[in-house]
Assembly symmetry: C2
Homo-oligomer: 222 residues x 2
DNA sequence: GAATAAAAAACGGACGTTCATTTTCTTTAT
DNA sequence: ATAAAGAAAATGAACGTCCGTTTTTTATTC
């Protein structure tokens, strides 16, 4: 009574999902047939149904696995941020987001597929309550920065940090997927510098700004 | 030899395109059949082909007409901006972008369809060289603001203005289409205030900031 | 009654899924 | 050691449906 090992099943599912993902991204979900996937994964049509109940469930499986990968990468990006509102760290956040977008642009296309064909069912949690999540991660750092007088009077760090995060994402997504080549009129490095500066000057207190100006300004041209 | 008037043809095409657009948005392009469109527009299946060559051409026709509508609205939004870097005007830009996104969310879904199914063929021009376009529209205003000393030393207004524009767009798109309900942890008004403040403090010179603080700060809480 | 418009029917093919069949391979009996 | 057994896994033909488009038929209007 032969039965595939869990590893063998996982490996085969990986093959199938890799092929499916590539096709979904290249031609969309509905335009990709089960026969396409079978051919791409070098598996018979019928055999697909030994691993997945429906075509939809292949899509869902891809998303679920990808989401955990992205979540982990995001976690490690946030983990290396000790002082979230410090300009150098904001810039590094931007650079890391850029890497994430460029190395996993597939993922974001899947998100658009999800928006269009599944009412964003699977990706909803990506943005829902994101500021609260940042508050959970960096809440004490935000409070400490405020207590130190790093921030301008009346600035709530959480939404600003979220806005910076979103702006970085949007910048690289537009560059990668929407054909806005150098849409800020700057290369990526200059764009990162420019956006970082805006958020630094936009939130830091004057005393902290002058410190920032002395130390980092030279390196953030553009 | 009866022949429909141009107006009658246009009216019927409008009916068809309205139905098609609604369906494309609700269930995607490939998931929408010509039979669906025919039923939605209360037209026979065969008759569709008296007005359009293919299903693709219906999509293209919708996009073309919609693009001109959006272009005009954007033009009028920009036309009422006399001083692009002034905080009050940035905020108004944000509010207008919000209206544009919310009133025409269909349009932006079509853009995602275009990204996925047509490699963004029809929407490419939307973001390509956008900063240069702003430079053409506001170049003299940017230069004047710089000459007046409104801006911090070394700030190039064009990419910052573009970034603000993109940030507003992204904020409302995430709110409307991606299920990020109050993803900045603020309501729309507060979010506009918060973002406007960041860009104001992020770019204005100190002399101009103090003027801004006196006049507008009270109204931009959040 | 001639030309246009609309409707209906038909076409060939592709779709997601099912299913009868064959292949594969571990286990058991010899 | 090997053959038989038998379930798991893989296959590809088959099913019924729906697809975009074309063709044929009917209705409308001058």
């Amino acid at each position: 009574m032969p039965k595939l090992s869990a590893a063998a099943i996982r490996s085969k599912k990986d093959t199938i999902e890799d092929a499916a993902r590539e096709l979904f991204i290249k031609q969309g979900f509905h335009a990709t047939s089960m026969r396409d996937i079978a051919k791409g994964a070098d598996v018979s049509l019928g055999n697909l149904y030994n691993y997945y109940e429906t075509k939809d469930s292949i899509f869902e499986s891809i998303i679920d696995r990808y989401l955990t990968v992205i979540d982990e990468q995001l976690k490690s990006i946030f983990a290396e941020i000790d002082e979230p509102m410090e300009p150098a760290n904001l810039r590094k956040l931007g650079a890391n987001v850029g890497k994430l977008v460029n190395e996993h642009s597939d993922f974001w296309l899947l998100m658009y597929i999800d928006v269009l064909e599944f009412q964003n069912r699977h990706f909803r949690k990506m943005f829902d309550g994101i500021t609260d999540r940042f508050r959970k991660i960096f809440g004490d750092k935000f409070a400490a920065a405020e207590a130190r007088g790093d921030l301008r009077m009346g600035v709530d760090a959480a939404p600003v940090f979220t806005a910076a995060y979103m702006q970085f994402f949007n910048y690289f997504l537009v560059e990668k997927l929407f054909g806005g080549n150098r849409h800020l009129g700057l290369d990526d490095e200059q764009a990162l510098n420019c956006l970082t500066k805006v958020f630094a000057y936009g939130t830091l207190s004057e005393q902290n700004l002058s410190r920032f100006k002395r130390s980092a300004n030279k390196s953030l041209s553009g």
